[in-house]
Amino acid sequence: MGVETKLGNMGVVTTTLEKVVNWSRTRAMWPMLFGLACCAIEMMAAQSADYDMSRFGMELMRASPRQSDLMIVAGRVTRKMAPVLRRLYDQMPEPKWVVAMGDCCSCGGVFNNYAVVPGVDEIVPVDVYVAGCPPRPEALIHGILTLHEKVKGEKLKDYA
């Protein structure tokens, strides 16, 4: 909103600016360590040497929400953990994205009981869902690349 109203629709300048900004956002997106359950093992496997995620820019995982852009919710979210998850999501600075990794945070997975929240999209808005129980590291990387495609399609007027 700000840039467009100030510069006006300058056509090729804003589209190039958009492309550059989105490209740079995808190239160095640092995930936040949010491995809750079994999917965390696959996330660790995806980060480590065999299926390297740092070749896609995710060089390291920050434990602090203040220093991360991407929250990979890996594993089932219990009802007691839900407010904590929301608070950490609120503490992340813009721009931020959420990947729901695995079945339990996408839809509740195999659980339908008092303890597990059926789908983390009831708590935070999710950008990409990765299916699997647990998803293979290659599936997670595919999810990350889908997120990159989504970020590359974002428009300047949505965030500036």
Partner: protein, 173 residues
């Protein structure tokens, strides 16, 4: 007589009426006692020199709905020197689901009793920290009771996908 039998004989002698029955099945011994004398029983068993039951292995409960007395609080004691298990069961009714805490006898009972309170609603008198441990603090209901609903929400198949999609509380930002 084995050490376990000595311990049970001591318990019957000291508590008398409070010991309701002693059963043994496939090597596992269960002693049913009255809930009022549970603290005394645990203290006696812990301090018995021939076979000291100095380890509380488990503290859970069973819901026998709709039979009365409804809950059975189960204490699994283990004797580390003699390597024997002993189970104590205390039945409590549903309208008066209270047992004295054995936190003074076995300190690790603190969390076990909090879990039994959270899941079954059995209150422990004299407990130093009587709050829920697994569910959120403001949760209503006790999940592992027999009259608590089993599932949580309707499963979203393809044929009812859209109607559940409309009702589901998605987070917007």
């Amino acid at each position: 007589m084995s050490e376990l039998d000595l311990a049970i004989a001591m318990l019957q002698e000291k508590l008398g009426e409070a010991v309701l029955s002693v059963e043994s099945f496939r090597g596992e011994t269960t002693v049913k006692i009255r809930p009022e004398s549970i603290v005394e029983a645990c203290t006696l068993l812990r301090d018995f020199e021939a076979c000291p039951f100095n380890f509380l292995a488990a503290l859970t409960a069973v819901d026998y709905f709709p039979e009365e007395p409804r809950f059975a609080v189960v204490y699994q004691l283990y004797s580390l020197p003699q390597r024997v298990f002993l189970r104590l069961k205390a039945r409590v009714p549903s309208d008066h689901a209270e047992v004295a805490t054995i936190e003074g006898v076995f300190p690790n009972a603190n969390w076990h009793e909090r879990e039994v309170f959270d899941m079954f609603g059995v209150r422990f008198l004299g407990h130093s920290d009587p709050r829920r441990i697994l569910m959120p603090q403001d949760w209503e209901g006790h999940p592992l009771r027999k009259d608590y609903p089993l599932g949580y929400e309707e499963v979203q198949f393809s044929f009812n996908f859209d109607e559940i999609d409309r009702r589901k509380p998605y987070a917007k930002e």
